[in-house]
């Protein structure tokens, strides 16, 4: 039974770090990719909306 409250550090020599990460890289990578893509997408949306708002009417 996994206790969610006990997130303690395990001693981690570099070797098992690599093999562990290799197993779970999909999920770890996925979540960080999600977060990065979300921020990038929202930034692009803001940029596009700013461009549209800043343009004067004659431009459209």
């Amino acid at each position: 039974m996994r206790s969610a409250s006990a997130a303690r550090a395990a001693p981690a020599p570099r070797r098992s770090f690599v093999s562990d990460l290799a197993q779970h890289w999909r999920w770890v990578g996925l979540i960080w990719l999600e977060v990065s893509v979300a921020y990038a997408a929202y930034s692009l949306y803001l940029a596009a909306r700013a461009r549209r708002a800043g343009r004067r009417e004659e431009d459209r």
Binding site: R2, S3, A4, S5, A6, A7, R8, A9, A10, A12, F17, D20, L21, Q23, H24, W27, V28, L30, I31, W32, E34, V35, S36, A38, Y39, Y42, S43, L46, R49, A50, R51, A53, G54, R55, R56, E57, E58, D59
Partner: protein, 243 residues
């Protein structure tokens, strides 16, 4: 790439903030992916926790700020308060959606299921639905004053619903005891705590960066709307500005 017609520029302080935020985001990612030790129980998967937990709190702060600016709008009648309210609502719904998606991503490898009716995630899902309602209502009202007023009312109900929905979600979970995505901070190793707090701070900076830019855009749109109203006293452009 740059606007050619006297478009108000983004202020220098904001550009600096955005740059610093970007750099710190990369630092935070490095801390989470490399510096943080693996967890006793979750192993390398703990690196996902930083991505999820660090953003999970932002949407709630943003919703409360939305309601606060809504109330200010009711008190002062200043359209800028409504612009600030909707900016915070937009960033809130963004972070709520991100929390839900990252929560499901975190949940699958650690708890072997995409959804566990975890109290905080259920609350986030309900709040997401409430914010959708907020924007739908805004989209249906053309008059800016009435729109601001009704939005303020809706945002106050949304804020009021949070404690009740949390209680309901928490008690609902006692009927379905399953593992929780949440990581309580009590026994976290010092390094992990630092990485978590650092990333949570980065999330705060991202929130501020997004919201201040969104407010600036809202003010621009308001100004453009007012300019058009002045120029066209008769029937003219049918476009309504959505702030």
């Amino acid at each position: 790439m740059t606007d050619t017609h006297q478009a108000p520029r983004r202020p220098l302080w904001w550009r600096a903030l955005a740059l610093v935020t970007l750099v710190l985001f990369l630092v935070g990612a490095y801390l989470a992916l490399v510096v943080s030790p693996p967890d006793v129980n979750q192993g390398q998967l703990i690196r996902m926790m930083y991505a999820h937990v660090s953003v999970a709190w932002v949407c709630f702060v943003a919703v409360l700020v939305t309601a606060a600016y809504g109330m200010l709008f009711l008190l002062r009648g200043n359209g800028i308060d409504d612009a600030r309210a909707v900016a915070n609502a937009e960033v809130a719904i963004f972070f709520a959606g991100l929390t839900l998606v990252s929560g499901m991503t975190y949940s699958k490898p650690t708890l072997n299921t995409y959804w566990t009716w975890d109290a905080k995630l259920t609350l986030t899902a309900l709040m997401f639905a409430l914010l959708v309602g907020y924007f739908v209502v805004r989209g249906l009202i053309d008059d800016p004053t009435r729109r601001g007023r009704v939005s303020a009312v809706v945002s106050m109900i949304v804020a009021a619903s949070l404690p009740f929905n949390y209680l309901a979600a928490a008690w609902f979970r006692t009927l379905h005891p399953t593992l929780s995505v949440a990581v309580t901070g009590v026994h976290v190793a010092p390094t992990m705590l630092f990485v978590l707090v650092f990333n949570a701070g980065v999330a705060a900076l991202i929130y501020l960066t997004f919201v201040s830019e969104r407010v600036r855009i809202g003010k621009l749109e308001m100004a453009r709307h007012e300019e058009r109203e002045r120029r066209e006293s008769g029937p003219g452009s049918k476009e309504v500005v959505r702030v």
